[in-house]
């Protein structure tokens, strides 16, 4: 029974891929991208897109980790609830609104886009860092204290590794949202793959539209997958085993 299911599944997948291929051809995407000029330009837009994402993510990760760690220290522990609430509130603000507001304050162009993406990406990282560190079981920290570890060693060798999977989950959400939001950056004059998408919608040019939408989607899926791989690298083996069982 399950073998038949598997076969049907594969067949369906094949049919879907075929249909997609035909649709792409009908939409003129293949022809569009066989023009070396256009593919060069698409790559350039993708470069802009990736640059926006990378720059804003590096800054956001640094700040997010820092905020998360600072507010998990005993000194600030009583603010944890408030911070979590504010961050959660911030996350409900739609991405388009953040992008548009950034333009109102910083004018048009790359700078405003980076700023908006940065602000928007800090929140999930800070939230998860804070949540992850607060969730480290007290007995683990007690054990570390018992071994005579200093506060900073406890932070870097116990608390952070212990909360790595939660932090990484935050990073992953942040990155995927960032890639999607960067597609809106065209609206405030910062280019990126969104340019193809919005121009395609404006002019009903399916080839352009798909030349923007498909790479953006693939970029997001790839980033999501890479984050999963990254998990194998940076989450300590012992903890991973513990989670799986």
């Amino acid at each position: 029974m399950s073998k038949a299911c598997e076969k049907a599944y594969r067949l369906a997948l094949l049919v879907v891929l075929l249909a997609a291929g035909v649709l792409l051809e009908r939409a003129g995407l293949i022809e569009y991208l066989s023009d070396p000029f256009e593919i060069d330009y698409t790559l350039r837009l993708m470069g802009q897109h990736i640059r926006m994402v990378v720059v804003s993510m590096v800054m956001a990760t640094a700040l997010g980790l820092m905020l998360g760690i600072i507010f998990s220290r005993p000194k600030f522990k009583r603010y944890t609830g408030v911070i979590m609430y504010v961050v959660g509130l911030g996350q409900t603000i739609p991405s388009l609104a953040v992008i548009a507001l950034a333009m109102s304050f910083l004018g048009i162009g790359f700078k405003a886009a980076i700023f908006a993406l940065f602000i928007y990406s800090v929140l999930p990282i800070a939230r998860n860092t804070l949540a992850g560190i607060t969730a480290v079981p007290p007995w683990v920290i007690d054990a570390a204290k018992g071994m005579g570890m200093s506060a900073s060693r406890i932070l870097f060798q116990v608390e952070i590794p212990h909360s790595m999977s939660v932090i990484l989950a935050g990073f992953r959400v942040s990155l995927v949202i960032n890639i999607g939001t960067a597609a809106l950056a065209f609206l405030i004059g910062a280019g990126g793959l969104g340019e193809h998408i919005f121009i395609g919608i404006d002019l009903m040019r399916y080839d352009k539209l798909l030349a923007g939408a498909i790479p953006t989607t693939l970029l997001a899926l790839l980033a999501d997958y890479l984050c999963e791989l990254l998990g194998f690298l940076i989450i300590p083996k012992g903890l991973r085993l513990q989670q799986e069982t």
Binding site: R44, I108, G189, D202
Partner: protein, 303 residues
């Protein structure tokens, strides 16, 4: 048990609503006006809306999309009419490039009227102002470089291709009467990374904030004068004539022939100066479109 009855009543109500809604829609004289994504289109549609409403129509606006989209919406009966520009219809939809026709007001209008009548679309009388595309620069910058016409720009670009950054909206970049053929006619090229494509509304802002040095503009836009920009002379008369006219589906006009005389009021009264002033009140003074339209009709003694 009561729960289940409540659920049934709910589902039934929804079904009822779905049945009733379309009947109510059919009962009135309904018109959907389309429009593109820049101020003048909002104003034209609003003027038409006010006048039609005064004549007992129930009017809905569907504005804010690109030219191709609005045209498709008209052809697929999603809207009833919108204001189209003669040059746009000639070059973009009918893909013509006869310079003699497209730079001649009457011939261009007659040509598209004729061609569209075969598609069941009627061009009503055109409005006399010409909202052509234009290239604009900041006055100081243009004077500093000694640029007054597009030929001057071409010369400057050929000397140093990386010198000036050009801002265009997506539509102008792609159109057959847009930027690419313009470069060809005037004999210059702009490197890819020197062209910034952006939303129509951003080009003036970008030029003002010195993010770009040359940008496209619409001749009737009030911001050109207000922001201290200057038009570059189209000395090889590249740009076609763009007179707006309501393009309406024939079947709609047949059922409501009174639309023709109603819209004529706008056609007769709206001059280049007046539309520039109207555009400026909306774009610069940020007056509400409806208010601006109503005020204009009042000054004409029409409202």
């Amino acid at each position: 048990m009561t729960n289940r009855i409540g659920g049934l009543v709910f589902v039934w109500l929804i079904a009822l609503a779905l049945v009733i809604a379309p009947i109510k829609v059919m009962a009135e004289k309904r018109i959907i006006i389309g429009g593109k994504n820049f101020t003048e289109q909002y104003i034209l549609a609003e003027l038409a809306k006010i006048l039609l409403e005064r004549n007992g129509f129930h009017v809905k606006l569907k504005i804010g999309v690109g030219s191709t989209v609005v045209r498709q919406a008209l052809e697929s009966d999603q809207i009833d009419f919108y204001y189209e520009y003669t040059g746009t219809a000639y070059t973009v939809y009918h893909k013509q490039s006869d310079r003699d026709v497209m730079t001649h007001k009457e011939r261009c209008y007659e040509w598209v009227k004729e061609a569209d009548s075969k598609k069941g679309l009627v061009w009503l009388d055109k409005v006399e102002f010409n909202n052509t595309y234009t290239l604009i620069m900041r006055k100081e910058k243009a004077q500093e470089l000694g640029i007054a016409s597009i030929s001057d720009l071409s010369r400057c670009m050929n000397k140093d291709p990386g010198k000036l950054i050009i801002g265009v909206n997506s539509e102008f970049w792609e159109r057959p009467d847009g930027f690419k053929p313009l470069m060809k006619l005037y004999g210059f090229r702009v490197p890819y990374d020197r062209v910034k494509k952006m939303d129509s509304g951003l080009v003036y802002k970008a030029l003002k904030e010195e993010k770009v040095d040359v940008s496209m503009g619409f001749a009737t836009d009030g911001r050109i004068a207000a922001f201290g920009f200057m038009n570059l002379e189209d000395n090889k008369s590249y740009f076609p004539i763009y007179n707006p006219a309501p393009v309406i589906r024939a079947e709609v006009l047949d059922s409501y022939p009174e639309i023709r005389p109603i819209l004529k009021i706008i056609t007769k009264n709206l001059t280049t100066k007046e539309i520039q002033k109207l555009n400026a009140t909306v774009d610069i003074e940020h007056k509400q479109i409806r208010e601006a339209a109503r005020d204009w009709l009042k000054t004409k003694g029409l409202h």
